[in-house]
């Protein structure tokens, strides 16, 4: 029983990590209707930036979150403006997929060129310190990640429902043409949204970097999980992504123990395929995956 509780706690903490990575992805999909196949590579780049900043300036990785959020907002906005936006009205919707897939490949290999294939570890004082809560042993960094994920979900929810800009963002997602007729500059909304989605990854990188060593292909590993989480929760749903992340976190933790460590991903990819095929709207999604 103790083991089970520990596993559940580990699963939820892992869920926090998955949520941090998935929120930006689902936001971008929900609004801009583009699946950013380079999302994982944003994280990878972010982790390298954290690694470099902590090394050069002797900063705590958490402090780097501030410049990273700004940097990634700009990066995301620029990618939307210069790569995605010209393709939004393309006759073949596949070209957007190609563009982000190409971007992803280029980024992975650029990292390979610059850093090589070796793992780089970012050190963060106190991040790996154990914290005991009622017999359950967790790491400080895990708790920070979980709390940040909860905070981020709440913040984005409030932003989307309570502010003029947030409402405009939702309006664009639901009916782009009508939003323009209300006076909303749709392209600007897309740029801002992509920026926010990328900024979420910036924040995530600062939290993930001191927990996991970075390598050029780490993004692929994380982004596949993020796809599972996002589809499970419902493409475009922020709360859904959080719920999906918790479920996948638990599945990962429990199946890794009770089934086999090397089959836990098979389990959640199986869930992923089942959801895609039988319920493409996911658990909380409003979008229609099969259309």
């Amino acid at each position: 029983m103790d083991i089970f509780i520990q596993l559940v706690a580990n699963g939820l903490m892992l869920g926090g990590l998955f949520a941090m990575i998935s929120i930006g992805l689902t936001l971008i999909f929900g609004i801009v209707k583009v699946i950013n196949f380079a999302h994982g590579e944003f994280l990878m780049v972010g982790m390298y930036v954290v690694y470099l900043l902590t090394g050069w300036l002797d900063l705590h990785p958490y402090v780097t979150a501030v410049p990273l959020i700004v940097l990634f907002f700009v990066l995301g906005a620029a990618i939307q403006r210069f790569i995605i936006q010209p393709l939004l009205d393309a006759e073949d919707p596949h070209v957007q997929i190609f563009a982000t897939v190409g971007l992803s490949t280029a980024m992975i290999n650029l990292a390979l060129l610059v850093f090589g294939a070796d793992l780089r570890t970012t050190t963060g004082i106190g991040v790996r310190a154990p914290v005991h809560i009622g017999g359950v042993r967790l790491l400080f960094g895990q708790i920070m990640m979980f709390l940040s994920a909860v905070g981020l979900v709440l913040a984005i929810h409030l932003f989307l429902t309570r502010t003029f800009l947030g409402r405009a963002i939702r309006a664009v997602a639901q009916n782009r043409g009508a939003a323009a007729l209300m006076g909303v500059n749709v392209n600007k909304i897309y740029i801002i949204t992509f920026g926010i989605g990328a900024a979420c990854v910036g924040l995530a990188s600062a939290l993930v970097a001191p927990m996991y060593p970075v390598s050029p292909t780490i993004g692929t590993y994380f982004v596949l999980t993020a796809f599972v989480v996002v589809v499970l929760g419902g493409m475009g749903s922020i709360q859904g992504a959080f719920l999906g992340a918790m479920i996948i976190g638990l599945v990962d933790s429990l199946s890794g123990y009770y089934i086999a460590p090397d089959l836990k991903e098979v389990v959640y990819f199986a869930i992923f395929i089942a959801i895609l095929i039988w319920r493409p709207t996911g658990l909380l999604g409003l979008g229609k995956g099969s259309e």
Binding site: R167, A168, A171, G177, A180, L181
Partner: protein, 234 residues
């Protein structure tokens, strides 16, 4: 107030409008009638800035708006209540109305205007916190018109507001439009419901194949032989 001069427009390689000229004076109700595919909706979308004209000019209160994007056109006080309502389906009616007031000039006094608009639409007031897609077709049309009013436009354009509604609801829609006219708004109305539309219009244009074939007062068009044969079925 609005001057459309020799405008051609279309989608992709296809030209839908061929050199259209119309004008709307302040306080007028002008209507555009024509068969499906004649280009009525394209004309409104072109004025609204959703489609760029290929040639010709569109001026509103003396300013060239032909090359403005839709959101900039709205900022000048031109609002289109689009065909098929086009509400934001997963937002509450209230949020839909707030979005109507997104344009810069309309944000101040938004709450006050909400009160005024709801006076016109008592049914909408009852539904404020429901999701827009849970409303009936008639209610959705009312919300769409209310949302248009929230922008406090000087020129209000309607695209087929009676589309797919039961005859009784159609009647209510026309009553609302007459009230809006009574508020002093200038109205440009596109409708398939030719008889009712021409009855409330000061002037009308008949569009066929993307060109204006007739222009006259509403009353005169109602008596016009061509209109009666082609659109009234008599």
């Amino acid at each position: 107030m609005l001057l459309v001069d020799d405008v051609s427009a279309g989608y992709g390689e296809v030209t839908v409008l061929h050199g259209i000229s119309i004008d709307v004076q302040p306080g007028e109700v002008v209507t555009i009638v024509g068969a499906n595919g004649a280009g009525k909706t394209t004309l409104l979308r072109t004025i609204a800035g959703l489609i760029r004209p290929r040639s010709g000019t569109i001026t509103f209160e003396g300013r060239d708006i032909g090359h403005l994007a839709a959101h900039d056109t709205v900022d000048l006080g031109v609002t289109l209540v689009p065909e098929a309502r086009q509400l934001f389906p997963f937002m509450t009616v209230r949020d839909n109305l707030y979005l109507g007031a997104f344009r810069k000039d309309a944000r101040d006094g938004m709450e006050k205007r909400l009160g005024e608009v709801l006076e016109l639409f008592p049914r909408v007031r009852e539904r404020l916190d429901q999701l827009a897609n849970s409303l009936s077709g008639g209610e959705q049309q009312m919300v769409a018109i209310a949302r248009g009013l929230m922008a406090n436009p000087r020129l209000m354009m309607f695209d087929e507001p009676s589309l797919g509604l039961a005859p009784m609801i159609v009647k209510q829609v026309f009553e609302v439009i007459e009230e809006i006219v009574g508020m002093g708004k200038t109205v440009l109305l596109v409708e398939q419901n030719v008889f009712q539309t021409l009855s409330i219009a000061d002037r009308g244009y008949v569009l066929e194949n993307g060109a204006v074939v007739l222009a006259d007062t509403g009353a005169a068009l109602l008596k016009n032989d061509h209109v009666r044969r082609a659109y009234l079925g008599i």
